[in-house]
Chain length 292, copies 2
């Protein structure tokens, strides 16, 4: 059994990106600049955004963090998005979700210029993904693909089962792995809350991707001997033995599943760090796609 | 076994659309106007386009057929697309594929204003489909969904296997049936040329959709007793007993498969007529979406 070390792989990617930045500086080219918009005081969101900003700094990207409290109106946020769309210094930006209830997340997502949408959430980018056209792949699925690629895991002709059909992970990763690409060419089954015989379906997976946000949902009896298991779940569960008062739990019962796997991602240190690496890669790409 | 009669269902839809046109006329509203662009002399394309134009006329839509021979340049075609994008009289238009080799089909598809893209091929519309946002669904998959809906076939929780991952049928229908919609909520497996154990996978399908363009590919041993079988294939095979010299063959070995099915589409008269009905529905919708 081999651990898919997202932390190390993410480090490798950041190292490569740092070198690309140095090279660009040397040639007098623009340095990638990511902006992140954070609304309100959600603990998880703060952690994610600050990790993204830190990652930018560590590799020499420029970054701008824009914070607003919950009182921002939808109209004000739309204006801010418009400003970032038109700001030539900013190559890509993200608006951290979830947003407060009085703001329509879809409206905000649609307002972001697809050319700066480094989260890859805009319909135009999802459509480009379906058609395998240039654009931005959603960061978490792209991170999963990158991990499979860097560990040289064969995907062609493999049965892949994705558990969970969210717009930002399950649905796009199921599309990406079914395309005629490398990694790709899997026979993908996308499962969800209405799926019957989930256990049986999962047990047939050569590659199993769990993205439902239910801690320890995937048990030993749902995993085939020798499977590749990718755990996207990162739920905070109370743990008073920790200083923070919680620990992160994946969707996979790692302790009992791991020994059956050929490869498995840990939580934390698996898919999580890869998401940030993808975001950085998308930001560099944004600049290149926009001819800078 | 019940035949899913696409011809009759398409007639019903056209009748409904004709009534909607009459109603619009009565209220002094604009009549839907579809333009079709046909390049070259491909026999199949001519047949399809003329069927679309005829369908428009029959239900009271306005229609414009624009023909050019193969000598048209890519630039000229792009200009024509631009003209149609900006023509307020035209609510929706299609550029019939395939195009001559010297023209980049992707470029043309991307040039069509998503708001007039009644074929539903533009990435923005595919992305809207993924996210279940308003837009145009690709005509053939939308026709399949409409057929399932009108025959009141339960799809929630069913295993659906799609054979073939084309951008215009297999891939989008697999996405549409996996969404949390009605029809929808299937557990969808998308199969293709790299799939292993296809027979076994198909045999597990409650709903089997064949969209590969290989005549009679789906045999009796690949179909589960009681399955719903949707045949998207329409390949012309030589048949000298026919006046035209050919007949249309589906991807399903209908004669041997039909008796195992709960529902099955014939070829011709199944999915084909539904595609045109979808196109008409999209054209009416284009007008409504654009506030006319």
């Amino acid at each position: 059994m081999i651990i898919l070390d997202g932390k190390q792989t993410s480090k490798d990617i950041r190292q490569e990106l740092a070198e690309a930045v140095t090279e660009r500086k040397k040639n007098g080219k623009k340095i990638p600049h990511l902006a992140a918009v954070l609304i309100g005081n959600d603990g998880g969101s703060q952690t994610y955004v600050s990790a993204k900003v830190k990652a930018c700094e560590a590799i020499g990207f420029e970054s701008t963090l824009i914070r607003h409290d919950d009182s921002i109106t939808e109209e004000e946020l739309l204006k801010l998005v418009e400003k970032l769309n038109n700001d030539d210094k900013i190559d890509g930006f993200i608006v951290q979700l979830p947003l407060p209830n009085h703001i329509d997340e879809k409206k905000i997502t649609l307002a972001i210029d697809p050319k700066k949408d480094v989260d890859g959430f805009h319909p135009e980018n999802l459509g480009n993904m379906v058609l395998d056209l240039p654009g931005f792949l959603p960061a978490t699925p792209a991170g999963i693909i990158e991990l499979l690629k860097r560990y040289d895991i064969e995907t062609s002709g493999k049965n892949c089962v994705v558990v969970g059909r969210s717009n930002i992970v399950g649905m796009p990763v199921s599309i990406m792995l079914g395309r005629n690409t490398k990694p790709g060419n899997c026979t993908v089954t996308l499962t969800h809350s209405r799926t019957q015989n989930l256990e049986e379906i999962c047990k047939n997976a050569d590659i199993l991707i769990a993205a439902i946000g239910k801690p320890l949902f995937i048990k030993e009896n749902m995993v085939k001997q020798g499977a590749v298991v990718i755990d996207v779940g990162t739920t905070r569960v109370t743990d008073n033995s920790r200083k923070k008062g919680f620990r992160l739990r994946g969707d996979v019962d790692f302790d009992n599943v791991a020994e059956k796997c050929s490869f498995i991602t840990p939580v934390p240190g698996g898919v999580g760090p890869m998401t940030i690496a993808s975001l950085m890669m998308n930001t560099l790409r944004a600049m290149e796609l926009n001819g800078k």
